[in-house]
Subunit: 466 residues, 2 copies
């Protein structure tokens, strides 16, 4: 696409942006409620927003921050300092005891003694919570399956093997989060299912549709009945190499070595800051993300973006001198990734006289916002949908039924209406839980538009209630 | 964001995707026209689409392809071969004579003899069409201005200087294409205005909001009256360094050396392929992009994506055995970037008995589709808007008034209705006309969804007319 000002060529680009949304612009002569406010927030946030620079601080200076790690402790201090520096009120920590799992210095997987390719290293990483292998590693044949059901039909063939769960995320779904939902049981329960079948370890195809050589970690779990076996994610390129080799050679042997371990629990915290309501300070509009991340990449989209969205939403309102009628509270939750302890502690804490009228979360990345998903009574969903015109100019006006986020789900159980920021979903799993999730993958304008959307929504709810 | 299948944690993600668009789903019991077809195209394209792999061929194997270059000739052959391999009908070249400009082996700019930083290299690249500097380069003082108006007030101060046009793209616009429109006259007419004021060369701030050290090229023009002076784009980081230094030291000297030149015109071609209509073969639904690119990066978003969108739209329809009533014609235009000769030749050619009922272009990148901009009579805009439900499930249902593209603008002048694919606009100028515009910046699903949107639209129009 090309030059605009060149006289004879100027038509092309002008067509693109000189437009109004046809289906949504009846002739309007008077401004609708909050329309000027939305415009003000948008035109402040886009040129002068700080979301990107705040995200830089968190991701590039602190880096990844798994619960219980020294970086997570730094992130807690950073979040408190940042909210204080912007003049938020009642900035405080609420203590949370979190699990601590460490990856350890060695993780390796190797195809050994292949007649066709000899020895070949595979890109893997332990899943969060896995036990280590014995020090010398585990060297044994690999059994590939697509599902737990298939594994259960294997009988003795699984015994003593490394079970390789290789069901890809379904590419035919429009929403990749649905495909994630259809594949992630391999990661969560693969170790248990492998052990039940007599396997000695598990390798799980990374939860991404992208073909690359970067493994994606994530939570897994054991139970008290089934013996624990070590489990790692393998990159999609590694998974292809392995499956191709199994097709060709039948018996493929892999050596797997992990040195991860679980350490004693650590004291950590949720971090909270507020704009106190002028009329109904005890009615709370909560807006949050999670401060912890996996120990890969920089936790930029997951969920540095969500934290920064919340901080920037409050900062923008404050900067514009907007004092909400109800309290707007930003909460940076701790330990979403491997325990949800921050969410549970927040919801369990007694807060006499206080009422949450909504809990809003951003945990789908710092991508271009599309709208909001609302998990609440129909009347509330309709009320939010009636405000969609406020988000029309930034293409973020799709209001859907059903939404929320893991951190606010505990409040949801108590009957608090939940809203999740919906962003463009297609790149999320390219980065998710991996070394790909770094600051440079975030676009400044897209990130800021998410914050702007949230600022508008939480202010309007703080004024109008739900 | 986290695990779905972990029993106690499973709520978070489910909320996100288990939703329907609230404001757009009245209770519908019967299927609307083409709804099944749209579903079929989407569920075919997402898992089995070839857009990404076709784009890989064009961008990674051929690379950038400025009009008249050997790579552009290869791209013409490739486009023909690709359309033939997919079984398109009437695959052919239509000749176009194109300009040929070459960058030359040397382009450099250097701050010289700065009291504070001594000598420092700046990242620049010649603008397309610029003349070279004398072989020894031009070494002289820099005069910074924000606009042509400001330059005109400088009087003799501009004489003998390198004029540095440093007005940034306005960050407060919601649509960055609007910001581009507000800044790009510096690139297009900077050389003329610099020479008018007595300047000996021009440096133009790159047309991007991103802060990085990559210069962005693009078209510029001379006229027959004003002497020609050389002109180059400077990276935004370089522009900052230069303006900071000018603030501090007042007189800053730069050495600029360019070896670019214009060579004789070259024979090239538009490349065309069709699905011939079964009932009204002489009524044509044109869908296109431009095959040429600037000589930077790989022309992936601009406009490899648009070419691949068109090819993939036809391929998908053919693969599904859908025979349109009217002819759907894919056109890969040549020379959009620096002459629009392909567009002009296409529109000027006599095609007896034939009628274009619409011209559709994709030239805003391979990003997540949002909808379509329609430049036509109101009744036609309304007709297209009534089909928006077909694009709702993929969030691409925003139908706007006003749209098109440079390549189809010549047909627009003849009264042909124009439609442009609208995609998420925020990252386009991060990559545009620079070494950043490479294949790895394109997401497979986003690219495919653009092709899917176009396949649905052009098939429905081919069936229904406009």
């Amino acid at each position: 696409m090309r030059l605009l000002s060149y006289p004879t060529f100027s038509v092309g680009l002008l067509f693109y942006y000189c437009c109004t949304i046809f289906s949504q612009t009846p002739e309007i002569t008077s401004r609708r409620p909050y329309e000027d406010l939305a415009h003000q927030i948008i035109t402040k946030g886009l040129p002068q927003g700080k979301a990107y620079e705040v995200l830089y601080e968190l991701t590039s200076k602190i880096g990844h921050r798994l619960s219980g790690s020294p970086q997570a402790a730094k992130a807690v201090e950073w979040a408190k300092r940042t909210m204080e520096s912007f003049g938020f009120q009642n900035v405080r920590l609420e203590p949370v005891t979190v699990p601590r799992w460490v990856r350890g210095p060695v993780e390796e997987a190797m195809i050994v003694n292949s007649p066709s390719i000899g020895t070949r290293s595979l890109k893997i990483c332990a899943l969060g919570g896995s036990i280590a292998t014995p020090e010398e590693g585990i060297t044994t044949d690999v059994l590939e399956v697509q599902s737990f059901e298939e594994l259960q039909t294997m009988g003795d063939r699984a015994k003593g093997k490394i079970i390789f769960f290789n069901r890809p995320m379904d590419r035919s779904n429009i929403n990749p989060f649905e495909s994630y939902g259809g594949a992630v049981n391999q990661r969560g329960s693969g170790a248990i299912e492998a052990a039940k079948a007599g396997g000695v370890a598990a390798l799980v195809r990374s939860m991404t549709m992208r073909q690359d050589d970067v493994p994606h970690t994530g939570a897994m779990h054991y139970n008290d009945i089934i013996p624990k076996v070590p489990v790692a994610a393998i990159s999609t390129v590694g998974a292809k190499l392995l499956t191709d080799l199994i097709q060709k050679e039948k018996n493929v042997k892999v050596k797997l070595r992990l040195t991860c371990q679980s350490l004693p629990d650590v004291e950590s915290a949720n971090v909270i800051g507020e704009l106190v309501g002028s009329e109904k300070p005890n009615e709370v509009v909560l807006i949050g993300g999670h401060l912890d991340s996996w120990d890969k990449g920089q936790g930029a989209h997951d969920d540095g973006a969500g934290c920064v969205h919340a901080i920037e939403a409050l900062r923008l309102l404050k900067e514009l001198g907007l004092i909400p009628k109800r309290t707007i509270r930003a909460v940076m939750f701790m330990n979403e990734e491997n325990g949800l302890r921050g969410a549970k502690a927040y919801a369990a804490k007694r807060r006499p006289g206080e009422k949450h009228i909504v809990a809003i979360e951003s945990d789908a990345g710092g991508f271009s916002p599309r709208g909001f998903g609302v998990q609440a009574d129909s009347q509330i969903v309709e009320k939010v949908a009636r405000w969609s015109y406020l988000f029309d100019s930034i293409d973020a006006d799709r209001i859907s039924r059903g939404g929320g986020g893991a951190d606010i789900s505990e409040l949801g159980k108590q009957g608090v209406p939940m809203i999740g920021l919906r962003v463009d979903p297609h790149k999320y799993f390219d980065y998710h839980h991996s070394d790909n999730d770094t600051f440079d993958k975030v676009n400044e304008r897209e990130l800021e538009l998410g914050a702007v959307s949230l600022a508008i929504l939480c202010y309007v709810i703080a004024q109008e209630g739900l």
